[in-house]
């Protein structure tokens, strides 16, 4: 069971992939189609991820649209 998870605001995210490259475990992947007309892909946690909620991806997102949290604590990790 993953200890953490991320919540992405897809209204703001532009699919730049910085978070994907930032995750030290490569748990994020660009695999989700959004509502834009361009067929862009947006990041999401892969199916069998083991996200720790460490918040590295959130810290690096330039548009500040990811929140990471540790599941047990149910508490958001501050962005930076």
């Amino acid at each position: 069971m993953a200890r953490g998870e991320v919540i992405i605001d897809y209204q703001i995210c532009m699919g730049c992939g910085i978070c994907v490259q930032a995750c030290p475990f490569s748990y994020l992947e660009l695999s989700r189609y959004g509502n834009d007309p361009y067929k862009r892909l947006y990041p999401e946690l892969e199916a069998d991820h083991g996200c720790t909620g460490c918040g590295i991806c959130a810290k690096e997102c330039p548009l500040e649209c990811i929140t990471a949290r540790k599941k047990d604590e149910k508490k958001d990790v501050p962005l930076s």
Binding site: G17, I18, Q21, P62, S80
Partner: protein, 661 residues
């Protein structure tokens, strides 16, 4: 904490020795990272006259200074080496995810010297670097090799891989270095150098943080830029058919007006570079029939077949390089082409479509998709390969080569089947393909018979698919850049959108002006081309994308990002001086290696000698000799020889920096 790590990795493939080296802060302040760091290392390390395919050549992979700082569209990496194609400075640039991966391993660049005894690859992860046996992937194409190397080396983090295909292994002088299943650092023959070193791949899986001076300030600039790109969308009624019409208008304009470059972002978001397929064919921007034809030849019944809307019909997802909010790339379904040999391919770039379309009078778009995947897997530069085929077709038409030479291939213009076959032969270095596999200059030398008349190149490198008779400043850069024949350095179109004059005191401001002025060798035009070249060096020093650059300095704020990331607090003029220093160092590299800059002048046909008789470029001629002189003069280089003047070298502090190296 200035965005760079201050360290490089230096690998001797002959001895297997790997060492970490510290680069002084002064180097970054004087030359940035990326191509500037590469030039610093290579100038000092490669002995004069070294064989580009020998052990003394140094091959480097560098990231940009702004890569990974939270800035946007700064994720491009550079490959640098002495070019076997031109004999001088070589570099090539690629997107994808490799640039941040270099920094996440703790380095700004990774450099290789020597030659390995057997094929090897370099793996770097959080435990450090090691050379590993690559015999199991040697002989495999770039995509397959990459998949194997990723699978083998994924422990926690999925690695980013730079890899050569079979073209690089066979030391084809037009081979590049591949990444992410078909992105390619294509130019300068960098893949041949990698192949000559028996270095199959560089596999990077580090996860160190990338730190900069003021990440919050960087983010604020990023958010402002992203917001503008998000809003920039074409109205729904604008369809692909609009592009050739727009091209026609551009080709007939007597006056030029600078546009807001953000408009360009909306076209790129929708179509990517193939937006130019139909537009540039009608405007005169695309060279047709080996630079001797016009849109009268490649008429509507041709260009309508390769127009952007047909290209994106196959696109099922976009592709963004690291940190890109535009996303000009795409992935296309090609499972119905070539008996299903391939399932998908990266969307072919405009350059590929143009050199395998109009340049060859080919209107078979499916063949272009197929060739795109063949070349991406082999790791061969499409621009050079297309020009090599065009050269062969013109020689065939003129009777200088026959079916006996071509192994029975009917090399008539537009013969898509023959084009595919010839590309396959070039990749395999088989029969006549072997003659073409090192580019047009080498092919003409091998064939003799006066074929050099039809070998279109500048200084040994085939030009991009942008006609210098349409944009003469493009021709200046084809002829004066230390890597000649490159379409990414500068052009009037780029200059007008980049709007340097809004921030740089000496960059000439552009308002509406007569198109004819672009064809005049004036101080003003020269200053524009100098400013363009200086800024492009900065872009290549920070890992920037050309398509971000041409949205304009008011939107994509490279100077401001640099100050936020480094804390240097420099003015745009001071950064432009860095750009000038970087360009001068690249030129000094060429001088050190015995290049006479005058020999880089583009093929006479590219300057309109003889002039075209039809089409939008009818009668257009470019006074290239006078333009080159003025460009050199305003760079502080000898206006007659192109050699940087001693006082310029001193003023730029290069004499001191290089002595220390």
């Amino acid at each position: 904490m200035k965005g760079y790590t201050g360290k490089i990795l230096f690998v001797n493939l002959t001895t297997g020795h790997i060492e970490e080296r510290t680069i002084p802060d002064q180097v970054y302040e004087m030359l940035l990272s990326g191509v500037g760091l590469g030039a610093y290392v290579l100038y000092n390390e490669i002995p004069a006259g070294a064989d580009p395919l020998g052990p003394d050549n140094v091959l480097g992979f560098t990231s940009g200074l702004l890569t990974g700082t939270g800035s946007l569209m700064t994720g491009r990496w550079m490959v640098v080496c002495k070019s076997p194609l031109t004999g001088g400075w070589g570099d090539a640039n690629c997107g994808g995810y490799f640039a941040p991966a270099i920094k996440q391993c703790g380095y700004d660049g990774i450099f290789f010297t020597g030659i390995a005894e057997k094929p090897v690859y370099l793996l770097v992860n959080n435990k450090g670097p090691q050379l590993k046996d690559a015999s199991h992937v040697w002989g495999k194409d770039a995509t397959e090799s990459e998949e194997i190397l990723i699978a083998e080396n994924t422990v926690k983090k999925k690695p980013a891989v730079a890899v050569i295909g079979t073209a690089g292994e066979k030391v084809s002088l037009i081979a590049g270095v591949c990444h992410d299943r078909g992105r390619i650092a294509a130019r300068s023959g960098v893949g041949a150098v990698m192949g000559s070193k028996r270095l199959k791949a560089v596999v990077l899986a580090g996860s160190k943080p990338i730190k900069c001076h003021d990440p919050q300030a960087v983010k604020e600039i990023s958010q402002a830029f992203a917001g503008k790109v998000r809003k920039q969308n074409l109205p729904g009624i604008v369809k692909g058919g609009f592009l050739p019409v727009m091209g026609k208008v551009m080709g007939s304009m007597k006056r030029v007006a600078p546009l807001d470059g953000m408009l360009f972002a909306s076209l790129m978001k929708k179509w990517g570079t193939p937006m130019s397929n139909g537009m540039s064919a009608t405007s005169g921007d695309t060279p047709i029939k080996n630079w001797a034809g016009s849109v009268k030849d490649y008429n509507r019944s041709y260009y309508s077949k390769i127009n952007a809307d047909h290209v994106i019909k196959r696109e099922y997802r976009k592709y963004h390089c690291y940190s890109c909010v535009v996303g000009c790339g795409g992935v296309c379904n090609i499972s119905d082409i070539g008996q299903g040999k391939f399932t998908h391919t990266h969307k072919p770039e405009y350059e590929t479509c143009a050199v395998f379309g109009p340049l060859l009078m080919n209107r078979n778009l499916e063949s272009i998709f197929y060739i795109n995947e063949l070349l991406n897997r082999a790791g061969m530069d499409s621009i050079s390969a297309g020009h090599a085929v065009a050269f062969a077709m013109e020689c065939y038409e003129k009777g200088l080569i026959t079916r006996e030479d071509t192994g029975g291939l009917e090399l008539t213009w537009g013969n898509a089947g023959a084009i595919i076959k010839l590309v396959e032969m070039m990749i395999a270095r088989e029969g006549f393909g072997d003659v073409l596999a090192d580019g047009v200059k080498a092919a003409a030398r091998k064939l003799g018979r006066g074929t050099d008349k039809y070998a279109i190149h500048a200084g040994g490198q085939e030009p991009g698919a942008h006609d210098s008779r349409f944009d003469p400043m493009m021709g200046v850069h084809y002829s004066v850049d230390p890597t000649p024949g490159r379409h990414t350095i500068g052009a009037s179109q780029y200059y007008n959108m980049t709007r340097l004059w809004e921030k740089v005191s000496w960059a000439p401001a552009v308002k509406i002006y007569p198109k004819d002025e672009e064809y005049m060798a004036t101080d003003r035009e020269a200053l524009k081309s100098v400013a363009g070249a200086c800024y492009k060096q900065i872009v290549d020093g920070i890992g920037g994308c050309l398509f971000a650059q041409i949205t304009g300095v008011q939107h994509w704020q490279a100077f401001e990002w640099l100050n936020a990331a480094t804390g240097w607090n420099k003015t745009p003029d001071e950064y432009m001086l860095i750009g000038k220093r970087m360009q001068t160092l690249r030129q000094l590299f060429n001088i050190k290696h015995g290049i006479d800059p005058r020999t880089f002048k583009m093929h006479r046909r590219m300057a309109g000698d003889p002039p075209l008789k039809e089409g939008p470029l009818k009668g257009r001629q470019v006074p290239i000799d006078a333009m080159m002189k003025l460009h050199w003069k305003h760079f502080g280089w000898d206006e007659n020889t192109g050699v940087p003047l001693p006082e310029t070298v001193q003023e730029l502090g290069l004499d001191q920096l290089l002595q220390k190296g």
